[in-house]
Chain length 134, copies 2
Amino acid sequence: MRKDTSTNAFNEKQINDSCGMAYSLSVIGGRWKPAILCRLLYGKMRYSDLRNSIANISERMLVAQLRELETDQVVKRIVHPVVPPRVEYELTELGLTMKPMLKSMSDWGNMHRSQVQHMEKSIPEDTCLITEEP
Amino acid sequence: MRKDTSTNAFNEKQINDSCGMAYSLSVIGGRWKPAILCRLLYGKMRYSDLRNSIANISERMLVAQLRELETDQVVKRIVHPVVPPRVEYELTELGLTMKPMLKSMSDWGNMHRSQVQHMEKSIPEDTCLITEEP
DNA sequence: CCGTATCCGATGAGATACTG
DNA sequence: CAGTATCTCATCGGATACGG
């Protein structure tokens, strides 16, 4: 059992074999996971580039979310044994299959957010912007 | 500004006009919201039926999540002024537009959860099961 | 450069009891 | 029937400092 290191509320619950949505949310539901996944959709990135491209993320959270994505087998960590160290992150095959899901979520949000009346709600910044094939 | 009544981590952050995914997660990301939304996808439901169909949910959380979904204008609350009280919940037009997104999330989860190796992770039970048109 | 360790406040969410 | 009100505890996640 994954221990108490989870960074989202959808883990560490009892299992239910009938629900795919819960599983999807357990994978992408962390505070910074969408941001990370969207960046990796377009290719491999170094740790430092990832950190620099996501404003306001702390190293603690970046690493924590990357580790969880690794555990869920959607992200691959590639360590080059050189000095200075060089670590790259890349989506796995499984990770790449998330693209349609990520896109439909991005699309719904983009289409409806601006239409909601009395919109005083605020959301995290610097998450992602999924576009058509770049 | 929505006050400190939020039940998920994607609210009460700074705004960013460029990210639809963050907005989507702010709407569907609550612990019980997927369960509620999936049930309402197929039509109006009474409060008590909703409660009975979602195992282990507390009234406190059911009401809290319903209120947030109302605030986000994806769920409509219909009060019939009779004795005993009768309250029904229904998706709004906006709520119904979430169906493709919810389905793609459910599909990804269902297709890949069972394929993940060393699957010791657990997820919430009794969330939802999206199928084709019922 | 790529992380860990630790501290700590804010928030999420269960249990229980009560109400129009 | 359809909720509120409290209390409580676990967890999320930011800030800071240190390490190979």
